[in-house]
């Protein structure tokens, strides 16, 4: 793995995901019919979302549970099938891929890290880290070598022959991260990867991600419900509510100029020190390494 590698970005245009009960037809271009479908029980999880993630950028989507953020990140590799819209990842129009192309796309261009790890309990740490490569059909020697390298990168050298059940939550998530890194994808998707971890471990893992990102420069979409985490990690972040992006900007933007009351209340509740009294100076000196301050 080269220390600094450029990877292509992500472009999402007018993405919709509507979960409709059987027999309820949905047309997102017709507001009347959409309203009718919603009354009939359809749930709009993602509502006309457009955004772009630049190559090498860490883009955080922050929202409370039910805001549609998990659905959104799953749409990016069609674990959830979008209702409408266009997604282009790493130069591939994901929304236009056939089933086989989609499988190939998932194998080669993206890797995902999950909140619940998604490790195979009957496989060792090494086999788990090599799993993505196995699905690609990489020969055993090579995939184990790459998995070992990835495990070493996340600090799990020496744990290769253990089973996931013998590891703590934080270490299991490291295996999940190693599995993603072993694939060496251009794009990484992180779905609340640290939400299940203790606060101290969570902080440690966040630092780890910052360090990895400095070395690898992947294009990352990171989903979280935690504003602190979003501000610590994100080059840019989007605040999501009821399936829409309420505000998109740098962490500093969002803290300084909340677009509306919702974001303001959010910032106030999570970071009173930023808003009351200390101002931006306080924020810069504060507990978060605000990236915007570093000239980003």
């Amino acid at each position: 793995m080269t220390p600094v590698e450029r990877s292509a970005g992500i472009r999402v245009e007018n993405l919709w995901k509507v979960f409709a009960p059987k027999g309820v037809a949905v047309d997102v271009n017709d507001p009347d019919r959409l309203a009718w479908a919603e009354r009939a029980g359809a749930v709009v999880a993602v509502r006309d979302v457009s955004f772009e993630v630049k190559p090498g950028e860490l883009f955080v989507v922050m929202g409370l549970s039910g805001s549609g953020k998990s659905t959104l990140i799953r749409c990016l590799l069609r674990l959830v099938e979008p209702t409408a819209g266009t997604i282009v990842c790493n130069g591939h129009e994901v929304t236009a891929l056939g089933p086989r192309e989609l499988t190939e796309f998932r194998r080669h261009h993206v890797a995902m890290v999950f909140q619940h790890y998604g490790l195979l309990p009957h496989r060792t740490v090494l086999e788990n880290a090599a799993f993505g490569l196995k699905l690609r059909g990489v020969p055993r020697e090579e995939r184990y070598a790459r998995a070992r390298e990835a495990l070493a990168r996340v600090g799990l050298a020496g744990w290769e022959d253990r089973y996931p059940s013998a590891l703590s939550g934080g270490m299991q998530q490291r295996v999940g991260i190693a599995r993603a890194l072993a694939n060496d994808p251009a794009i990484m998707l992180w779905d609340e990867p640290f939400s299940g971890l203790d606060p101290l471990i969570r902080r440690e893992m966040q630092d780890e991600l910052v360090r990895l990102q400095r070395e690898l420069r992947k294009t990352i979409v990171f989903v979280t419900h935690d504003l602190d985490e979003a501000i610590r990690l994100g080059d840019r972040l989007a605040v999501m509510k009821d399936g829409r992006f309420v505000q998109v900007g740098t962490p500093l933007d969002i803290v300084q100029n909340p677009a509306n009351d919702y974001v303001r209340r959010f910032v106030q509740a999570r970071a009173p020190a930023l808003v009351n009294g200390y101002g931006v100076q306080g924020a810069l000196a504060g507990p978060w390494p605000l990236k915007a301050a570093a000239g980003g």
Binding site: H108, A111, G118, L120, P121, F131, L135, Y163, S165
Partner: protein, 282 residues
């Protein structure tokens, strides 16, 4: 009394239908019957060729390897020895041959059926009532269709046993696969697992403990059925039980009954121990 005028018998009709089947498709039934009988006889010949001490020794070793307890291994060996002491060893061999044949067939049919059920809701909707019926019917009733089509003897016994014992392995394969954690399957899908890889790498291995529990259940049900199958002329320990019931020979029935229990315990312990080997490490 139920009025005589309302009585109507379908029996003659069924008789004619079976006759028709046998006349027109007799060749098919003969072929199935012949193939089954050959398989059965080979298994039986193999079991018969094994000296008794080798069988008991092998069970002891297997018990030690699977259960890791000397007491269990010794008890299982003693139970088999007891069957020999009662003079029922040859009959027990014949019983085991029928059980092994039926269980092998049940697994060959049942595991793929369970996988299909888990993969497709439509197959599941179609098979569930059939399985319910198979398990609700009293076991005696299975003897009738088997006997109708294949006459008396070991082949209908194998088929009746197969029908009676196959539902657990189908159900538990289906259940096991459906219970595989959604988050693990989602992760595999996200990394580009196709349907076959999903089945082979994720769903089957994670469902394996449940599938093996189904194998255990199927084996136990086969053992229960094979005793009843003696009523349509399958030789074995069951026949001994049937004879002693007909002749009201309590002591003889006791020996035979105890031997059946002994076989059941040995088979159950061994298959359970085997199943436990495949539980995920913790």
């Amino acid at each position: 009394m139920f009025p005589r005028e309302l009585q109507h018998h379908v029996g003659p009709f069924i008789d004619r239908a079976v006759d028709w089947l046998l006349v027109n498709y007799g060749g098919v039934f003969d072929a199935v019957s012949g193939a089954l009988l050959r398989l059965l006889l080979q298994i039986e010949a193999l079991l018969r060729a094994l000296p008794w001490w080798l069988v008991i020794g092998a069970v002891g070793v297997a018990a030690w390897l699977l259960l890791r307890r000397w007491t269990s291994a010794l008890v299982l060996m003693a139970l088999l020895f007891m069957i020999g002491v009662f003079g029922l060893w040859p009959l027990a061999t014949e019983t085991m041959a029928i059980i092994i044949t039926s269980v092998v067939l049940a697994l060959v049919v049942g595991i793929p059926a369970g996988i299909l059920m888990a993969e497709s809701d439509r197959v599941r909707a179609a098979l569930t009532p059939v399985l319910d019926a198979m398990q609700t019917l009293p076991s005696f009733v299975y003897l009738i269709p088997a006997m109708m089509l294949f006459g008396l003897g070991k082949v209908p016994a194998v088929l009746a046993t197969l029908i009676y014992s196959v539902p657990p392995v189908i159900r538990l394969t289906d259940l096991g696969i459906r219970q595989v954690s959604a988050s693990v399957q989602e992760a595999a899908a996200a990394y580009g697992a196709n349907r076959w890889q999903m089945l082979k790498e994720v769903r089957l291995p994670l469902a394996l403990p449940s599938i093996l529990a189904g194998v255990n259940q199927t084996t136990m049900m086969a053992l229960a059925m094979v005793v009843i199958a003696s009523m349509i002329g399958a030789r074995g320990i069951g026949q001994e039980v049937l004879l002693s019931i007909n002749r009201i020979e309590v002591g003889r029935g006791f020996e035979a009954g105890l031997s059946v229990v002994a076989l059941a315990i040995v088979v159950d312990r061994l298959t359970q121990g085997f199943a436990r080997r495949f539980e995920p490490p913790r």
